[in-house]
Symmetry: C2
Subunit: 223 residues, 2 copies
Amino acid sequence: MSEPIEVRRRLHEENDRRAAQLREQFNAAGTLVVDMVSSPGSGKTTLLELTVDYFADSLSTAVLVGDVATERDAQRIREAGGPAHQIITGGACHLDAHLVADGLESADFDLPDILFLENVGNLVCPASYDLGEDFKAVLLSVPEGDDKPLKFPAIFSRAAVCLITKSDLLPHLPFSPEDAVRHVNLLNPDSVILQMSAMNGDGFEEWCNLLEREHQAKRAALV
Amino acid sequence: MSEPIEVRRRLHEENDRRAAQLREQFNAAGTLVVDMVSSPGSGKTTLLELTVDYFADSLSTAVLVGDVATERDAQRIREAGGPAHQIITGGACHLDAHLVADGLESADFDLPDILFLENVGNLVCPASYDLGEDFKAVLLSVPEGDDKPLKFPAIFSRAAVCLITKSDLLPHLPFSPEDAVRHVNLLNPDSVILQMSAMNGDGFEEWCNLLEREHQAKRAALV
């Protein structure tokens, strides 16, 4: 069955071309773009609600939300005060550059200082798609287990930032933060790893500082 | 881009043909086959370790484990006393009937009374692949949130059994079992829903009884 491989290669090439155009557009606007990837229920939307609220008075933010079904997550972001546009992928288990480009055209906001792409909840396929982002951030929630980086190596190798979320549950679960960090570093020695909890605020300031620094660096490159 | 859709349709047809052959083979052997689907880290392997151990003296069991990478889960099942064979999917985010057929050929066990297919951790694509199973069981762990059925409707519509796992974490998380059941039933009014915890044994007996009943029904149909 050589056609599917050939078709997949061509689809990836088309995706990469579209992603390169998006990256030019984002760079020209000085927009920092972060592709957020995780399993379902790892806390992407909750983290984005808090992040959008944190920057409300300093930087403009917006979220493109990818889901197989429902407008629920975009609604949650809007209720938290951020512009958000929902991309319904239909059966697709990941965002691609075409979906992002179409989403931006339909969205009722201009390119902000920081644009978050909230990918479909899935640790496999989102790893292989360039969306024109500056970096991918992968979330690993404590209930998922510290072995997940080894089981889903592509995304943990490619994500520049790894957020260990729901750290407030550490007392209740057999999760070793040291093992998780070791597993991520085996795949990606340069990964920036933050331990976080939306319940008690653990790590949130570091996350926002990181975004602010990256946004400033992007703006500096623009001048 | 009509080719990918055409290619996908053909791939699904080929899958369904292979799955029908597998189903005949399973029926002839009186083997009950359960396709276990969930997000990464929802507790599939832990549940299978306990299940394999529970049936050790009464029924033969075996597990075909699908993962993108690592032999880790099959090792865990073997340590729990069950025959297990690991299928490494390479990039694929789901098992298909061809992978299952190849896995069975390479496995060092005969068809048992109950065969578990532990799918790749992913709530999207496994929903669309028939593996010749008697039924799919979808796991929804409490940390993932009670909204996940609505966000991943295909698998919750198609799975005859829904296991709400990690119920011991209910006191620590904003998860409403009533809402979860309501969401599942909206999609699938006939779904058998069990609330479970590997930590305190909640629901485990019901799960094993269900498997035993289904296996007996399958054997009865054989005679």
